[in-house]
Symmetry: C2
Subunit: 190 residues, 2 copies
């Protein structure tokens, strides 16, 4: 695909987010989105399955996670691997977009169906990380635990990042969340 | 409610699970369930909102989590609290029911809508644990991280428990999962 379709995708995305904010997600229709973007509904459906998918970036996160894991040298341990992956995601996909991501979070929280879709997205990301860890020889239960923990750390850190008064890189919040969890678990459980 | 309604609820639940296993979740209707249970659809809808809810126990898990946390003495730390709670859940709600829980897991995995409902159940459980930890004075990010980690440990342990050749108490798998996570996180991340 050339330059124009990519541009159409971004115009549709912006028009949709504007309308979701102005009038709510439920009240917004695909024809309203395409009218604002100056494009046809046919073009819309070439890029997105429905208006919900506009908010979920074609779910490239699982593929991204798999690629990130593949790029890390073989000797790197699983926790370092996850920390490195989360830092790459933070720096390349989130830093500099805080206001926009905060708007997207508000839209997702406003609608039960979107919140459910978001849970599925997180589960898919955890499944991709788990598969990547298994492929590197991490055993089954440890791979499941670390993959879920990585997703937890990312989303807790993201909320802290979005809610912080002063903007700092998301990676700093990832480190703080990982350290907090580590510290809590290092104390005896009973 | 007296003895009869409780009995009706259990008869409906058993009939539904039998039919889900025999002919699939999607193909099973509420009239088929009530016919097998020897009850009316009116009775069915007094107990369950729809056939999906038969599998989710009226979602009492969040209330149970809140009660468990309230029962633990004030001086107990958050990780010990979660470990204690998971042991209570394991012993009172799961041990001795392995075959049945394995059947339920198979049904849930067979249907995308049920799997999604299961994700929402896990999120609700994490939210309840998080609220209970906040109420005990655990700070925001730590409460979120530990609540999500508790849910992760429970469900990873449950898969191990269900897949193990030899039956052991679920609590033993909870301890192993918690130790595995602790061990992995204790090693330096980078």
């Amino acid at each position: 695909m050339g330059r124009w379709p990519a541009d159409a995708r971004e115009r549709l995305r912006r028009a949709a987010v504007e309308l979701f904010v102005e009038q709510g997600f439920a009240a917004t229709t695909v024809p309203q989105i395409t009218e604002r973007a100056g494009l046809t509904t046919r073009t819309f459906f070439r890029h997105f399955a429905d208006k919900r998918e506009v908010l979920f970036d074609g779910d490239e996160a699982p593929r991204l996670a798999a690629r990130l894991v593949a790029d890390v040298p073989a000797g790197v341990g699983p926790v370092e691997l996850i920390a490195t992956g989360l830092h790459t995601v933070a720096a390349t996909r989130f830093d500099g977009r805080r206001d926009e991501v905060r708007v997207l979070r508000g839209i997702i929280r406003s609608d039960a169906g979107l919140a459910e879709r978001d849970l599925r997205k997180r589960a898919a990301l955890a499944a991709a990380m788990r598969a990547a860890l298994l492929e590197r020889g991490v055993d089954g239960p440890a791979a499941a635990l670390l993959a879920e923990t990585g997703v937890t750390v990312l989303f807790v850190a993201m909320d802290e990042w979005l809610d912080a008064e002063r903007e700092r890189p998301l990676g700093a919040f990832v480190d703080e969340a990982l350290d907090a969890l580590r510290g809590a678990l290092a104390r005896p459980a009973g």
